[in-house]
């Protein structure tokens, strides 16, 4: 059970690192800056939170010995990740931020990184998870 949360935390860190690399690449390539809204702390915080939430859902699944529903849980995780992109599209940024139309392009991919990182690391933690 403990390992599923370690899985979540490591996946969260991985997602945060990927997000920061993408963020720097996006901002330097397109010449925009959203540093007032996105910073290292918020990226790490939200990525780890997202992955720990996925871990919690998995732990509930294993607690009730419903490992066979793992596929459905994965679909729910992806659907929720997709639904969460409504946030950046509807968000109003501070008025002194230039090019707000470029903001969703930066943030939307990041919403998929936690699930992607979690699924990528799953084979390394799978056996342990099923045992617990």
């Amino acid at each position: 059970m403990k390992k599923i949360f370690i899985h979540g935390i490591i996946a969260g860190i991985l997602a945060a690192v990927a997000s920061l690399i993408y963020c720097n690449l996006y901002q330097s390539t397109l010449g925009v800056s959203f540093d007032k809204i996105i910073n290292i702390g918020s990226v790490f915080g939200s990525s780890i939170f997202g992955c720990v939430l996925i871990s919690a859902a998995y732990s509930i699944l294993f607690k009730f010995k419903k490992a066979n529903l793992q596929g459905i849980l994965n679909v729910i995780i992806v659907v929720l990740s997709f639904a969460s992109i409504i946030g950046p599209f509807s968000m109003s940024l501070p008025l002194d931020i230039e090019f707000p139309e470029m903001f969703p392009g930066l943030v939307v991919p990041m919403h998929f990184f936690p699930a992607l990182a979690f699924f990528t690391l799953s084979p390394f933690f799978k056996q342990s998870s099923f045992k617990s």
Binding site: M91, P94, L95, P100, F103, P104
Partner: protein, 186 residues
Amino acid sequence: MLNNLKNKKMKQFSFAVLVGATLMLSAFTTINSVDWKISNDYSIKFKGKDAEGIFKSFTGDISFDENDLNSSKFSTSVDVSSINTGNGMKNKHAKSDLWFDAEKYPTINFTSSKFSKSKNGYTVEGTLTMHGKKKQIEIPFTFSSNTFNLNFSVNRMDFGVGTMEGMSKKVSNEITLEISVPVTKK
């Protein structure tokens, strides 16, 4: 010989007085100048129900003299495409033909016709042109520390900006404008 010298000195003195007087008058002319240059740190904010933002581009000619309101004149223009609501989709929507139609009506203009003193400052009457429609309006304003502050509201339906149907009716008719224009003497 002595007379010639006196005449020459008199002419020199008269010339010096003339130059001095000209310089003094020109100095007073500069002090009384009423032309103002708009500083870069102006702000044009608008606010209504479900609509809030700024216009980033503003130009114009401002002549204003507190002691001579008759010679004062505002002729200003706001670039519609500089609208910023903080949301890219809303910006695009605001510039579209459903709202301001920035392509067809790229500017919002105001030209003053009359100034008067009011209880708290001044009032300017003039023509506001927006979305191809003109309307006479009165705008109260103050002028202190070389900054014009204008607070007033316009009814967007008077100018045919948006509709009151569908999602558009979520935006209130009355839109409040808060304009601050710091200026320096030209």
